[in-house]
């Protein structure tokens, strides 16, 4: 009950703040521009594609890169949306108010996570609607589209959880955003060198976001990729809960 109450309060607060609307506006405008560029490039490439069976389709050429672009944007906007979650509430004594009202550390962390994730998933729904509009004319591969959407949603959840954890561990929202951005970028770029040289990823490769996004963007939903994203969410939230629960001891 407390979890959903906290999520509800935070969603309401997000909804009335110009910050969230501005952010949503910028993201949607950028995504619309990316989509138009993708469609335009696809249209120009069409006559040169040798045959419909061997060439990249609309989903491969437009939708998958489009959703990857949303993930790239989320590397920046997830830290911005989550930075105030615990760091801001702590300095304004609102965490103490929640705690005094009977909410546990887990209630607080889950509530704040759900609110931020709902906002970013809502944006994802709007973003995903754009290629759907052309669904009738372009005949997308629905299986591949679904797989890419699942991977994007899970990746956004992981980035949100990292942002919440950073907000729990830092006293300043700006510091939380910076830390979350650095961790997200590190996960995104960790295997870049290996990919360029064409080497095997090993454990570094396993840690990289790209390793777990690429198969889904090709239409392959692998349980190990789902487990990877869920592990990040679980680990980040567990750390945040531990920190929030320790507030009473630390003061």
């Amino acid at each position: 009950m407390s979890t959903f109450t906290i999520a509800r309060i935070d969603l309401k607060r997000l909804a009335v703040r110009p910050f969230a609307w501005t952010l949503a506006g910028i993201v949607l405008a950028m995504m619309a521009w990316q989509f138009l560029l993708g469609v335009s490039a696809f249209m120009h490439a069409q006559p040169t594609v040798p045959g419909p069976a061997s060439g990249p389709g609309f989903t491969d050429a437009v939708v998958a890169p489009y959703l990857l672009n949303y993930i790239q944007l989320c590397l920046v906007i997830a830290p911005l949306v989550t930075m105030q979650a615990l760091a801001g509430d702590r300095s304004a004594q609102r965490l103490a108010l929640l705690s005094a009202s009977g909410a546990s550390g887990a209630h607080i962390v889950f509530g704040k996570f759900i609110a931020r994730l709902a906002f970013l998933w809502l944006l994802l729904v709007v973003v995903a609607t754009v290629p759907l509009v052309l669904g009738g004319a372009t005949h997308p591969d629905w299986g591949q589209f679904g797989a890419a959407l699942i991977a994007t949603a899970l990746c956004v959840a992981a980035l949100t959880a990292i942002g919440i954890a950073c907000s729990a561990f830092t006293p300043e929202p700006a510091l939380a955003a910076t830390a979350a951005l650095l961790i997200g970028e590190a996960l995104s770029l960790i295997d870049a060198g290996l990919r360029i040289t064409g080497g095997e990823g090993g454990w570094l490769g396993y840690l990289a976001l790209h390793t777990h996004l690429a198969p889904a963007m090709r239409g392959l939903v692998r349980s190990e990729d789902i487990v990877y994203f869920l592990l990040i969410v679980a680990l980040a939230l567990a750390l945040a809960i531990h920190r929030a629960a320790a507030e009473r001891e630390r003061g």
């Binding site: 309060i9 309401k12 703040r17 103490a96 705690s99 005094a100 009202s101 507030e247 003061g251």
Partner: protein, 244 residues
């Protein structure tokens, strides 16, 4: 007949914050219908004591009992009996006063009809009807304090914990606060902190003077202003080494 247990009992409570011993062996009790004033200069440990009583801070040593139950056991049950208003009132600036009270009611687990009833009761009791639909971030300090009190009173707590409730209030608002505390005290215990002797004397029937994290004086107020004033001044003037 056995004496009923104290509503609030602190036994040998100690607490360190940032490496500094803020509270040392603090013990006192509070009966229902008592209004206890925690008096002390800045940094005496008043807010820390109240945060420990409210359950938002854990003591390093000692116990806090509410009706003879240790507050660390069954924390949620104990917290449901406490209403806490810290010195800087925590509000959600983006929510209206009504929404804020409703959210607090939800957090306290009140059902919808109970919540509605409680919100209307507190809006009326604290004369907040006129600003019920105004955003909390747009309220004056006095109004914010009243909203904080309304949040704390929603679930009709047995124990009300107020940290520096008179801070930043004008004389009219201070008089209203005194009147309100007078109205609230017959049904519950109230513990409030202040560094102003006059405020404590006007609102409380008991006083505990804290100095350097220790209880230096604990007595019923007998109306002898001059005596308490002299005691407070003498304690406050003591250097840290003397207090230890």
């Amino acid at each position: 007949m056995a004496k009923p247990p104290a509503l609030l009992q602190l036994d040998h409570v100690s607490r360190r914050l940032s490496g500094r011993e803020v509270l040392r062996d603090v013990s006192f009790s509070l009966q229902r219908e008592d209004v206890l004033g925690l008096l002390g200069v800045n940094g005496a440990g008043k807010s820390t004591t109240l945060a420990i009583v409210a359950g938002v801070l854990q003591p390093d040593a000692g116990t806090v009992r509410i009706d003879d139950r240790v507050s660390n056991e069954g924390l949620c049950t104990i917290r449901a009996r406490i209403g806490w208003v810290p010195e800087s009132v925590p509000l959600w600036p983006e929510l209206t006063v009504s929404e804020s009270l409703d959210a607090c009611g939800r957090l306290r687990g009140l059902s919808k009809p109970l919540r509605r009833m409680a919100c209307e009761r507190e809006l009326a009791r604290l004369e907040l009807q006129a600003v019920a639909h105004r955003l909390c971030g747009q309220l004056s300090l006095g109004q914010k304090r009243r909203v904080g009190l309304a949040q704390a009173l929603l679930h009709e707590p047995d124990l009300l914990v107020l940290d520096e409730p008179g801070n930043g209030l004008d004389p009219v608002q201070t008089a209203q606060l005194r009147e309100l505390i007078g109205k609230l005290s017959p049904r519950r215990g109230i513990i409030l902190s202040s560094h102003e002797l006059a405020e404590v004397e006007a609102m409380c029937n008991r006083v505990v003077i804290l100095h350097e994290g220790r209880v230096r004086h604990d007595a019923k107020l007998d109306g002898e202003h001059g005596k308490l004033d002299a005691q407070f001044r003498a304690i406050a003037a003591q250097p840290a080494s003397a207090a230890a």
